[in-house]
Symmetry: C2
Subunit: 228 residues, 2 copies
């Protein structure tokens, strides 16, 4: 279960800009599929980075499975990120000069997956996002934008995380390829995993149990089912 | 007028992968607004990179305003890119540690716009994509994904190019912000500029005069108006 209370994030203490998050509270149950929508610059990625233990709030609390995340040291946070959370970044964050398969194998080194299993699990994850052997040995910067996006998704799923956080995972994908990805997420939810997706497309939010609407660093609405 | 004939692009001569473009022909009139759609990996960005003089085909020809682009040397190509073409990259390609305003000013240094005019034109371009003074002095890596995308768009438009090539320009934008961008493109077309957009969203292709459908490195359909 993911619980944030009165979360505030201020990137620049000195300026007179409004905070990126101005006091956000949200509770996400295990097995829930949540969509987050809102205007560009409204704070969605900032919220997701805190949920993913990649960033700390300026004020407020984040309790993850009963543990106050602010009490954890860097090693403990790295452990959580590696074993319990799969994160798909808005700008992918692949290693550009490593191969596709190498990029997907990397998280399994941290979790000490047996070497002979790694290649196989990486290939399965890649096939699940529609990337076949033709792409596996490309460097990740020798791909189309949507192929890079799908490598980032495969990499996020390869350690079977309990929580999947995906920031605009279909932003660079045609509708048909996007459906393959959403299907994958739906199957993961049916296995009891928690899925949180940031999207600007209503057709994607339609797949969620609830849609959280963000505007100017605040949650302005939470609707069951799709966002309309 | 942009004319490609029998364009072939093979990235790796050695492999037995299909070509990224397998023989593409297309003619785009001045003042036309073209949408390009197709599955992830089908060759859209590859085609756009050739139209933008950023890449050369393996076979085939590209004639731009009566000039065979393959006859031009690197300086002449740089001249065309700087003065006649505005290019919005699928992955933005901003200078991460330079400010937003610096990123937008850069193209005007090449075209020797008077120094006192540059700041003003950069600010106008940023306001046109919905980015106000709050963002102008951020480093470009201190922005949301959609804000970075809009800086890339502003930068592409600041030299008043005759041809605008935009690769998924609304991929990271909520619907409302995306409409601001499409409005900007429509106004440019009304001024007689040529607009070519890659998009995976039908609602975006709806704004175009024609939609070109790409699949497996080939043009499979060209439809007037929207892509449906
Ligand atoms: N630098 C490269 N080296 C080798 N192959 C490449 C390179 N860039 C792209 N490709 C391959 O060329 C094909 C077409 O890529 P392209 O980027 O044009 O696709 P696209 O239609 O823009 O896809 P998307 O919608 O995912 O952005 C893909 O199969 C891709 O893997
Ligand atoms: N590193 C940073 N330093 C300063 N300000 C930042 C930084 N990253 C983001 N911001 C600002 O925080 C606000 C929220 O950013 P965030 O990335 O969370 O937006 P978003 O909702 O994900 O937007 P988008 O839909 O465009 O991706 C924006 O105004 C942005 O400019
Ligand atoms: Mg974002
Ligand atoms: Mg592309």
């Amino acid at each position: 279960i993911l619980q944030v209370r009165d979360l505030v994030k201020i990137y620049r203490a000195a300026g007179d800009e409004p905070p990126a998050l101005g006091g956000v509270s949200l509770s996400i149950e295990p097995g829930e599929f949540i969509a987050i929508m809102g205007p560009s610059g409204s704070g969605k990625s900032t919220l997701m980075n805190i949920l993913g233990c990649l960033d700390k709030p300026t004020y407020g609390t984040y309790v993850l499975d009963g543990v106050d995340v602010s009490r954890l040291d860097d090693d403990q946070l790295a452990e959580i990120r590696a074993t319990r959370i799969g994160f798909v970044f808005q700008s992918f964050n692949l290693l550009p000069r490593s191969t596709v398969i190498r990029n997907v194998i990397l998280p399994m080194i941290y979790t000490k997956v047996p070497v002979r299993e790694r290649e196989e699990r990486a290939q399965e994850a890649l096939l699940a996002v529609g990337l076949d052997e033709n792409t596996w040995y490309h460097k990740s910067n020798e791909l189309s934008g949507g192929q890079m996006q799908r490598v980032a998704i495969a990499r996020a799923l390869v350690n079977d995380p309990a929580i999947v956080l995906a920031d605009e995972p279909t932003g660079n994908l045609d509708t048909k390829t996007g459906e393959i990805i959403l299907d994958t997420f739906r199957k993961l939810k049916e296995q009891g995993r928690t899925i949180v997706l940031i999207t600007h497309e209503l057709s994607v939010a339609d797949h969620a149990d609830r849609t959280v609407h963000v505007r100017d660093g605040l949650i302005v609405d939470v609707l069951a089912g799709d966002a309309a």
